[in-house]
Symmetry: C2
Subunit: 482 residues, 2 copies
């Protein structure tokens, strides 16, 4: 056991506080910057601690999609109708099973206001739509489909609309978003202490009244008169926690996040009685598209069987491939649908017939041939009764056929964790009885957010920035400790 101590410190043991603020925010990423802003705006004296040398967290490294809907100015400018009700129905279906309904309801209700808030902080959004990707476009388009809203089963549950909003810059846009949010926090008056790694919470009786941290080799005690907001990230960089809670994620090949995502924030809160939920859940990116033409192909598993509609969100494909197919999947394409994908993933095998291809791939004899035959029979009528891929993507595969090797180790499986602290919609950290722990708040990937297991791109930054705001405001209005 190499984990370090998260047992809380008794306030009586603190000789003198090194710094004092109304609100101490732990972590300066998407959730921390918005928490710091809103707490400052509410009149609180705010100290943000960040273990690395600067702001940004995982969000600054990310594509930067923010999931928002209900008819944002960008959606409307691009000609998409959307309603909060459709957004709600999509999220209740896509974020499950058993998602946190009060959080989703609040998330939808605040969606338009949150867009305006981001714009007010200076985040630029280009009113243009990119159809070719569910990730960040290569251009500066501000809107993408990011969760399979236009594919089965969600297109039957809610009217589809793209809800992935991106700051106006090319490719990974998270850095630009975070630049504005970090500046907003500082502009609102939050003080920032970088290179400061919070290790423990400080308890006075049952109330959280501060933190202990390491700063330049010294232990410092930081007092929080009104509250501590934990926004210290998830636990994808803690292999021990992965093995205990979500073993499939331990096998991922490219961890999404920063090394600060070591679960320490979650564990510090657990050590003062906080409850966790959905600890098994994780998102797994398996970047097959763009180009979208590859969706004309079929995904098959180690038995040569299809297992999902290929036109769904690639994050759903990645989750299913890692959690249920043990990372043993392939994409089968024909010449008309084939292109080398954006990451350089190319066909490993090309053969004149499905029988020959399955043999080269080492799949069971006849398995892939039977799958292609059945697929083609339905595809000739533009149908996919097995997995409901949309008619636009369904046409018979014409030999020769190629296979892109998407097995674990050959293709990148990029996971991050979705489970974490149980929090109220106001950002209060809840104990095992569901009661708020006095003085303790949290947001971002340290918490179990709107996604119980299912995911859409943009929901991490979306719920981090929105519930970060609420958590910061809650901490600011929390009564000062005696």
């Amino acid at each position: 056991m190499s984990q370090s101590d998260v047992t809380p410190v008794d306030a009586a043991e603190i000789g003198s506080w090194d710094e004092t603020a109304d609100v101490v925010v732990v972590g300066f990423g998407a959730a921390g910057s918005t928490a710091a802003f809103s707490a400052s705006e509410a009149g609180a004296e705010v100290l943000v601690t960040e273990r690395s040398g600067g702001p940004g967290g995982a969000a600054a490294l990310a594509e930067g999609i923010v999931y928002l809907g209900g008819g944002t100015p960008i959606q409307r400018a691009c000609g998409f109708e959307d309603s909060l009700d459709d957004m709600y129905r999509y999220m209740m279906a896509a974020c499950g099973p058993d998602p946190d309904e009060p959080k989703i309801a609040r998330y939808c209700a605040e969606s338009l206001g949150h867009f305006d808030w981001l714009v007010a902080q200076g985040v630029p959004f280009d009113p243009s739509f990119c159809a070719d990707t569910s990730m960040a476009p290569t251009g500066t388009e501000g809107l993408v489909y990011s969760g399979g809203e236009d594919a089965w089963p969600f297109n039957e549950i809610a009217r589809p609309a793209p809800r992935g909003h991106l700051a106006k810059t090319k490719r990974a846009t998270g850095w630009l978003l975070m630049q504005h949010l970090a500046a907003a926090a500082a502009g609102a008056g939050a003080k920032v202490s970088t290179d400061t790694r919070v290790d423990r919470l400080v308890l006075d009786d049952a109330r959280v009244v501060g933190v202990q941290a390491q700063r330049f080799g010294q232990t410092v005690s930081l007092r929080a008169r009104r509250g501590v907001v934990l926004t210290a990230g998830g636990f994808i960089f803690n292999d021990d926690m992965l093995r205990r809670h979500c073993p499939p994620l331990a096998r991922g090949t490219f961890k999404v996040g920063t090394e600060g995502d070591d679960g320490r924030g979650i564990r510090m809160a657990q050590a003062v009685g906080a409850a966790v939920r959905n600890m098994y859940a994780g998102e797994v990116s398996l970047p097959i598209t763009p180009p979208r033409t590859l969706i004309h192909g079929i995904l098959v598993n180690a038995q040569g069987q299809r297992f999902i509609n290929e036109d769904t969100y690639m994050g759903r494909v990645g989750q299913t491939a890692l959690y249920e197919q043990d990372g043993e999947v392939y994409l089968i394409v024909d010449e008309a649908s084939y292109e080398v994908n954006w990451m350089g993933l190319a066909a490993t095998w090309v053969c004149e017939t499905a029988e020959r291809l399955e043999s080269e791939m080492g799949l069971p004899g006849g398995s892939l041939a039977a799958t292609v035959d059945l697929y083609n029979r339905h595809a000739a009528r533009g149908e996919d009764p097995l997995f409901h891929k949309g008619p636009a993507w369904v046409r018979p595969l014409v030999p020769p056929l190629g296979a892109v090797d998407l097995r674990l180790g050959r293709a990148p499986y990029a996971p991050f964790t979705l489970g974490g602290l149980d929090t109220s919609v106001e950002g209060e950290v809840l104990d095992l009885d569901g009661r708020p722990i006095p003085g303790l708040f949290a947001a971002g990937r340290a918490t179990a957010g709107v996604c119980a297991f299912g995911y859409a791109s943009g929901l991490s930054i979306g719920d981090s920035t929105m519930f970060g705001r609420f958590a910061g405001a809650s901490a600011a209005r929390s009564p000062a400790a005696g």
Copy 2:
């Protein structure tokens, strides 16, 4: 939030203790009775509390299989060779992913001794083998295959041997086992307090020194000089915990356990800093066999595809069906393989052809026909290259074909939880840093045992009774609180 309070009580708040013992054991089931016995044997004064009116817990309602191997007298009498190494290799593969290796190593090392111990407590085992079931036989046979040891992939990982041992009585044998174990605990001197529901732990500084309980409408405080052993069961009867940690199990139709399996023991320990692991894991019984002849059939999902080797342990079928196939599965049989199963599950549809059958069942056109065709082509050579069902069970299906409806709601899915408190092999409850919590021990389904996710029948009672013994002994030798 309807859960009740699990916050620990400060010892300073206890005016006077109603009872005092060296060791207080919470729960009088498989783990509690063995903990009480071993603590008593070690010279401790033991008080066992039980919230129901008598001993037995979930084990008394169960089939009563105890998973033991390495060449027990029963295995040898039945002509089976087994080694501890084979048992270890099987368990490391079957209990994963990422099972608790130290626990499995210890479990195997103590297996033969634990068998002798059970016999010494008077538990009778009949030296006879039943081949027709992986559950409790209808006769009094004492040995069954209970975890798919003789099926793929485990038959390639370790030499197969049956390790499911049953006390000598018909059908559900758990009551007989528990009768002997409860008597052993009482015989060793443990005092029993029934109708006593423990609600909270009592803490003196950071050490557990007792419990508070409800007994006949009164709050009583029970002091434990040396330690408290939590053996209060799992959480299958707590829907809120199921939804937070393992949503698939919330859909199960027949909960396995007692109403006392409400997770309170787990939550009480978490409230004093205990770590949990594997909270997503659950076993799901889907009782298809006996008769084993049904294994000649094929299991298919909502896409008419096979998804598992039908000759594996039925608990693996149930887990896969509920967790990965959303409870949408069917058994396809022909006349030669068909019998109404032991629970009365019968074919809902019977048709002259696979095409007709898939149509009646509402499966995608051609899907079941393609599956049967591919299966039959390989079966004609006695092979199953897709899922590796053993040759003895592989032969072409000859129309007419029938389908047994095994969907959730039509067939019983009987789950129980496998996740719980993180404990050492000695039964110490570990905190978030992996350090023992002074004065607190646990065993049984309140803990994460040898099964991280995979399961074999007999491993719950096996690890409950074995690690219950260790936990009781650990508590007895723990230094008395000052």
